[in-house]
Symmetry: C2
Subunit: 329 residues, 2 copies
């Protein structure tokens, strides 16, 4: 007979606009099995819920014990009362009662939170933030999101949306953001902004953009932030310049965040950072040069430790903590 200690596990789900990660996670935060599905947002909530339910059942059938529950992080604004997805722009969801749907179908307790906040929980409890009471996670992917732990509490704010760190203004005369404001950090340094800047630059100077266009198989719209970081790592001048511009914005933004929040650790993750891990040191040097001395002195700037797993680990461990009564978030 297995020890009870070894049989406690939860399901973690990271539901984004393009992919769904689903994992079985043990109570030490280790991923035992993971699955990745395409989201296909156009199929609507019911189809996506069905896909998650099928996969969770499959993961359950592989072991002889039941999960304590399921934690899910969703790329959107969550109403914790009732577990409703109020608005998820990349899924095109409004007011989807996800907690109830999944809970009823799976006959499991379901804990729902925002995807970036779940990833922050993951880094805080099982990644680069362990043992730290004041930290800031900044995830630079297609968009930019974050989470803030201050005084040992993960900040939620007045309407559960604290931590929208991609939407701090860093260039009040800068380009418009998807959110309607202009000069947001995300509009200068998010993956979509890097891709937009790259396409404009390639169009303006096809000779300088030759490598980017080649990597995109001649299709301008195929130039992505991933291609830019790849070309930059190969020494492509235009791509290095595009990354430099993003780094200037990331330093400006993180300096402001460090001055405002005074974290002990700034943890950087997301696809853009993982594509160019040297950005962590560059941003760290810039922040230390430019933040207020008192805020910069204690600051460590570190890469995410959990990478793509931060979301599933964070969601699963959040469920574990809530369901074992260790903590009510």
């Amino acid at each position: 007979m297995r020890m009870k200690n070894n049989t406690r596990w939860t399901i973690g789900v990271d539901l984004g606009g393009t992919k769904i990660d689903i994992a079985r996670v043990d109570e030490s935060g280790r991923v035992l099995i993971r699955r990745r599905l395409a989201t296909r947002a156009n199929e609507g909530p019911a189809a996506i819920e069905a896909k998650i339910i099928d996969t969770v059942r499959e993961l359950q059938q592989q072991v002889d014990s039941l999960p304590l529950g399921l934690g899910i992080g969703v790329a959107g604004q969550i109403d914790p009362v009732g577990g409703i997805v109020r608005y998820a722009p990349n899924l095109n969801w409004r007011n989807v009662p996800l907690q109830a749907s999944l809970g009823q179908a799976l006959e499991l307790p379901v804990i729902i939170t925002n995807d970036v906040r779940a990833a922050t929980w993951g880094e805080w409890y099982h990644g680069a933030g362990q043992g730290c009471d004041d930290l800031l996670c900044l995830f630079v992917g297609t968009g930019i999101g974050g989470g803030v732990v201050s005084g040992g509490e993960l900040l939620t704010g007045c309407s559960n949306t604290a931590g929208e760190l991609g939407h701090i203004t860093v260039d009040l005369h800068g380009p418009y953001c998807h959110c309607g404001n202009r000069g947001c950090l995300e509009a200068l340094a998010g993956g979509w902004a890097i891709a937009r800047n790259a396409r404009e630059a390639v169009k303006a100077d096809p000779a300088a953009g030759a490598l980017l266009l080649q990597k995109a198989e001649g299709n301008l719209e195929g130039v992505t932030a991933k291609i830019v970081t790849e070309a930059a790592r190969e020494g492509d001048h235009l791509s290095l310049h595009l990354i430099d511009e993003a780094v200037v914005a990331l330093i400006a933004g993180t300096v402001g965040l460090v001055n405002a929040f005074n974290p002990c650790r700034l943890i950087l993750g997301g696809g853009v950072i993982e594509g160019m891990p040297e950005l962590v040191d560059r941003i760290g040097k810039g922040v230390h040069q430019r933040a207020l001395a008192a805020a910069g002195a204690p600051l460590q700037v570190l890469p995410s430790q959990l990478g793509n797993d931060a979301g599933v680990i964070g969601s699963a461990m959040l469920a574990m903590r809530v369901l074992t009564g260790k903590e009510i978030p």
Copy 2:
């Protein structure tokens, strides 16, 4: 004999670079007597301490009861362990053991904090922030400072400097700030920045700047933010333009802060706001237009209720709470 309830009081001190406010405050947060002194920073810490000690003794002699203690907010970075002023640029102080000096001379318990944080305590407990667990105070004076309450806790950060909201970057290509970074909110919208912009504008176009120069008695260096707000209220075109520029920066900055912190209330105070109270509505409208819908929806934008008294009331009430055991900050 007076009821004990009516005799409990503390001393609140607000120590800034140009003035020192000292007040007797009762336990309901009411100012009973106040004194204002000039700081004269060039005289050094001992002279300033002596001035505070003399004034506190004078206030004590006027009543037949002793204060529970003294709370002091200092315009600088405070090390709460030992009550030391680590660095106060406007006083030109480094490592001044103010808590010990005042405590020994006055034979009173002394509670020391940052001046803006003290003002935030004041607004939170006795001003526009009463009953609110998630609020942000932004004080726009010569510089810009702030304080953040999130989840019912006043954020302190890793090294007790959280809340430096004047040093968020809002224009990454903008003018240099006193702090060494560029494009800080304070470098665009603080009183010193408004004055700098005004002097440059008057110099560049003396005809447009005629009213400003007249109000400064012909002395360009005498053009201050106060004069600009006065002239703007009289309809002076240049001054209105200068204020408009500051408002653009204040909206950009507060949009970012509202997205990052998701407060229920944004409380605006400080000399620049008090000089043009209509700025509160203008900033409020701008923030509601440009913040993320989920963060903007619950937000109230309000003027400071305590004005110049926020610092002394906050310091005094912080001392009251600590010394009566109601709360250890």
